[in-house]
Amino acid sequence: MSIGHTLLGLLESGPCHGYDLKRAFDEKFGHDRPLHYGQVYSTMSRLLKNGLVEVDGVEAGGGPERKRYAITAAGVTDVETWIKQPEKPEPYLQSTLYTKVVLALLTGRDAGDVVDTQRAEHLRLMRALTERKRHGDLSDQLICDHALFHLEADLRWLELTAARLDQLATEVRS
């Protein structure tokens, strides 16, 4: 999962201190693996260098944790591109896909788009596997079936997640 994109996406809701950014990340995405401060600062300085965030204010006392970061227009474009880009279908995608769906909803984007683009990408591979199965021997068929069922499971989980979160977001907003 891309920590840089996730932190950027969180910044879209408004400028934030490094510490609050870490807290928001841990709360939403870091259940079993909270970020280290070191990760936050190294990521933020990389984003700063690349012009994706800017320093919005520094509180007296120095220390990097007092910096307030704001996302730049280039940063918003970067998040947009990342969310819209489907992931290469492979095992253990769930944390990346989950992050994209949550960030899409948090930033007022359409989570359904994430699902549709990812489905298209998965289906591309699934069609190739189905075709291979058509011409292959039994062991080919079994191997392809295994991959097909797993890819389908990814998609079903993604669809369910998007539908559940959408419902949740509607409840929260209303």
């Binding site: 289906l123 699934m126 189905t130």
Partner: protein, 230 residues
């Protein structure tokens, strides 16, 4: 833009049942020999789209063009004739006539267009062989399994050599093995006759038998292939 060489094209379809729209600007097109999956959540308008395309349901607005002819401007009789001779249908269940034998069921669409019994049943048997159910000819639908019944239904949908096959969740009631086989046989048969297939399904493994997918959400459609190539 109407895609070049399309057999069936729908533009800006709207259809409401009461206050809630089932279709809200849906678009669709399919080429001869092409299998297009219609995907999307339950209640999103997939079946309504299929029924409009097949001339079973009349949209409130929008146009459907089949082979260069506007569906809505056809007289009813002509539209039903089209459904009988050029379209084939497979649904999830409940489509075979229980009082008829399987071969009589498969032959029925031909009989309705006036083909003599003997000839109709010969053609029916040919399709039943292709669908691997020729030996069930004299059984009634109540005496065959779900997977067998669905193959009989697919044979029936192909018996008139239709140019478009409409399949609404054709594997919805089947286990994985039977579902796969039905999809394989249906798509192979359709490709060999250059028929177009409109395949409504919410299952990705079933949609993987298609050439491309159209996603319907809240009555609006997205052609994923078109978006990728544009």
């Amino acid at each position: 833009m109407i895609p070049e060489g399309s057999l069936l094209v729908a533009r800006d379809l709207h259809k409401a049942y009461g206050p809630t729209p089932a279709l809200d600007g849906a678009e669709f097109s399919v080429h001869p020999g092409e299998v297009v999956a219609v995907m999307g959540p339950s209640g999103s308008g997939k079946s309504t789209l299929l029924h409009c395309l097949a001339g079973i349901v009349t949209p409130d607005s929008g146009t459907i063009t089949y082979d260069g002819r506007e569906l809505s401007s056809m007289p009813d009789a002509e539209r039903s004739a089209l459904r009988r001779t050029e379209f084939g249908f497979v649904f999830q269940f409940g489509q075979l006539v229980p009082e008829l034998t399987c071969v009589e069921n498969v032959a029925l669409p031909l009989r309705l267009t006036g083909v003599k019994r003997k000839e109709a049943e010969r053609t029916a048997l040919h399709w039943m062989e292709r669908l691997e159910v020729a030996d069930l000819g004299h059984k009634r639908p109540g005496e065959v399994s779900g997977g067998q019944g669905q193959r009989v239904a697919v044979a029936r949908s192909l018996v008139t050599s239709p140019r478009v096959v409409f399949a609404d969740e054709p594997t919805g009631a089947l286990d994985s093995l039977n579902g796969e086989r039905v999809m394989q046989l249906l798509t192979e048969a359709a490709r060999s006759t250059n028929a177009a297939v409109v395949l409504v399904t919410h299952e990705a493994r079933v949609a993987a038998y298609s050439d491309r997918e159209v996603v319907v959400r809240d009555g609006k459609s997205r052609d994923m292939m078109m978006e990728h190539t544009v």
